[in-house]
Amino acid sequence: MGMEVRTTYREISGRSPQFYTLGVIMGTFFLLGLASVAYVEHAGHHVTGGSNQIVWGIPDVFAMLLIVSASGALNVAIISSVFRVKLYQPLERLSCLLAIGLLIGGLMILILDLGRSDRVIVAMLNRNFKSIFAWNFYLYTGFIAIVTVYLWTQMEPRMNRYIPAAGLFAFGWRLALTTGSGSIYGVLIAREAYNSAIMGPLFIAMSFSFGLAVYILVLLAACKGSGREIGSVLLRRLARLLGVFIVVVLYFTAVQHLTNLYAAGRGGVEHFILFDGGLYSLLFWGGQVFLGGLVPLVLLFRSSRGGLYPAGRTVALAAALVLTGAFAQLYVIIIGGQAWPLTLFPGMEVSSSFFDGEIAAYTPSLPEIGLGLGGVALAGLVVLFGTRLLRFLPTTLANSVLDPQPTAPAENS
């Protein structure tokens, strides 16, 4: 096996101004999120941007961003323990913690955006197993439980030999989870924008990219905030991996739209999303494809060309752009897909007092954005206090202590 480099993990300091500042900012957003919920619960959802036309608004965009990212944040741990890339081994723990935090944040938004959040217990006691939502209840809560066990195998030395098995199981589970999330939309026969089996694989591709982007940002912030070194070897590998994932998302997006364009009856909705959907078309081309796809690709690959290592700032910028594109993509899928009217009478022009045949309008309201940011803040708080309380972060990620081998080849050592 060659030289075994032992990683030392250490909690972050609870006395630094960075810790307090982050804690106060995220705590404030979390409380604002709860206040938004209280307001909407009291007044009713008519104070949101939602309507009988757009039934899932921007909170669901935030929730899906967090949940899809959660399964992808596990990438790094999986690559280490399932695919045995030793370079990523010191990063496993943070990967699991981030996955749990993001999922909790997303789940909070989903639950608190319900019309009757107080009836969560009803949802637990009565389940209809034909519903993807009911399945997701198990997939989401199971994910938290499984990743917790996976984390335990990493943090408890006596359990270390079970890491590959736990990792493999978590990998299978996360694939099911993301397929379940994509299928929420994919199974809707009446929604022309996304009634397609590709939604599952598309969401898996998205999770790889979004989750890694969040991971990179959190890792860079944590290292900077706690004075830990992060070596160029690791940074370059993460940057290239993110680049590959961006391409995969663009590929699946192209397939999604091309197949829909090929179906004669779907031309209308595709034309709407891609060309004359106003904000949605702008978000698609400008947000998802350009800012969230092409620009970070150039940033990531140009700077690592010719042996040059990308600077931490460049990688962080690329990751932030990927997440900007991610938000745009989910906004277009979830809200743009609903804005396009249902087709009751194919080939006919229709109108009614109930907005039949009309493009639905939607403007996000402050309480909805507040709830969404509250969920993001909760995810952040879980990670902040997690790294404060337990040993998630290695003391250093400098080149000198990392094993740069992509696999563990026998003849090289």
Binding site: G44, R127, L188, A190, M348, D356
Partner: protein
Amino acid sequence: MSGNTNKLDAPTGFDPVRRKFLSAVTAATGVALAPGVMLYGITRPSPATANVANEAVANAARWGMLIDVGRCADGCDACVSACVEENGLEGHGRPATDAQWIRKVEIRNPSTGRRQSLPVMCQHCAEPPCVDVCPTGASFKRADGIVLVDKHRCIGCRYCMMACPYKARSFIAEDLEDQKPHAPRGKGTVEGCTLCVHRVDAGRQPACVEACGDSGGGAMLFGDLQDPQSEISRRVASHATRQIRADLGLDPGVRYQNL
């Protein structure tokens, strides 16, 4: 043994505070529970007062509707007004969020210019997508084909609204007042046409059908699609009728003629 004796002997001293506290707690519990017990007694149906609503529904019938679009006049909304009146659906003047259980849809064929007007409501599918996607089972189909929402089980996730191809459901986005006892509704839950289940169970016709016959064009016919002798079955058998989006294979219970 001696330990036990001591324990029994110990509290011989009378503690007035403790006794007072216990009596107060007992009294408070009684006051809190009594109204509930009373109400339970009042509302519990005795065998004599048990009504049809407490009986299980049989699958002996499949309730459905036949709408003759040729007799449905553009501009007539007798069915819509009757539904609003019957079920207490007066809105808040906010069209985007106000509930609509039945609406008039105007359609125009762009190639011929032909116009038609017809009512659309919950189509009471035999294979309802709203029931499939509902996580809690709040959306359900009765044995007689009527698709309903159990307002006590609905968590307001709105997935059924995403799944319904007919835009038949509404989400209650604000407080309601003056609800009809036979059509309970609740903020934060989803609702839709019940086919006037309270009337059907009492052997009557849905309010929209009645109003269409009284003051509309007499375009709507309600009946049992499973009974070959019913008028609706005979007309469906002898005339060309259509289901909206029949291509989806949901087998709606609402049929259209001359569409």
